[in-house]
């Protein structure tokens, strides 16, 4: 009796597994296109995130030593969060603010020049 149940169970299991595999086999998943295993891809994630963060710090003018110091103090989770958000940081403010500031400064300069007895004209 036990053997019969086992045989039926195995037959059903083989059929189900075979069916599931063939149903999904005609679609090429991304990891197959990339010719990589998911585990391998997830292993390089940290390395790539370090590359992103160090390049941004370099772009913002940090020295190699400063970059190394900062990176060595980051744990994996912080590094991951930083890599995700780093392009959203506005280190020097945005363009709109820069334009407004420049206009205010130019207006002030023109005002001061006029107050000192000079005239500013646009030819």
């Amino acid at each position: 009796m036990f053997r019969k149940v086992l045989a039926v169970y195995l037959a059903v299991a083989v059929f189900v597994i075979g069916f599931v595999q063939s149903a999904g086999a005609a679609f090429i998943p991304s990891e197959v296109t990339m010719n990589s295993k998911i585990e391998d891809i997830q292993k390089v994630q940290k390395f790539l995130e370090i590359k992103i963060v160090s390049q941004r710090l370099k772009d913002f003018g940090y020295s190699e030593k400063e970059i190394m110091d900062r990176l060595s103090s980051l744990d994996e989770q912080t590094l991951h969060s930083l890599a995700l958000k780093i392009d959203e940081l506005k280190v020097g403010g945005d363009v709109g603010l820069a334009i407004v500031l420049a206009l205010v400064i130019i207006a002030l300069v023109i005002l001061i020049i006029n107050l000192t007895g000079h005239r500013v004209v646009v030819k």
Binding site: I28, T33, M34, I38, E49, F60, I105, V109, I113, T116
Partner: protein
């Protein structure tokens, strides 16, 4: 003398302007992309597997500027979500950018098979994929599977 004082004050104003500008104006920073297209694809795929889909798409899009697989992987992501229109659009973009990307032909054919429409075109697409990868038996087997399923639909 009066003229000298006027020019001196003008000079002071210019110096003050330059100092203020240097202190308060934001810097313009040129950002460099440190990753290759292949690296963007790998990072995107890693994020996709962790459920970070927006970040994954951002990296696939970055890769797609030079590598058609970027569009293919976006298509796959949308297909897995059941967003067939976006998937189709991206498979077509992948084929347009690289007409030798066999997986894009196969997956577009698979999409039509799932939707049960344009089956004649799906058959042509998968035959094209088989022709492109005729030296790769593993891939051809999968493409044949797609073809058989389309034929029996």
């Amino acid at each position: 003398m009066i003229l000298l004082v006027k020019y001196f004050s003008f000079f002071i104003v210019i110096i003050a302007f330059l100092s203020i500008s240097a202190c308060s104006l934001p810097k313009i920073v040129v950002l460099t992309d440190p990753l290759t297209a292949e690296e963007h694809l790998k990072l995107g795929l890693s994020y996709e597997k962790k459920g970070l889909l927006d970040e994954a798409i951002r990296h696939y899009e970055e890769a797609s500027k030079t590598d058609a697989r970027g569009f293919l992987l976006i298509g796959n992501l949308y297909l897995n979500q059941g967003k067939y229109e976006q998937a189709e659009e991206n498979y077509r973009r992948a084929i347009k950018k690289n007409n030798k990307l066999a997986d894009a032909y196969n997956n577009l054919a698979w999409l039509y098979y799932i939707k049960g429409e344009r089956l004649d075109e799906a058959e042509e697409l998968v035959r094209k994929a088989m022709e492109l990868e005729k030296g790769n038996q593993d891939k051809v087997k999968i493409y044949e599977d797609t073809l058989n399923k389309i034929k029996t639909k």
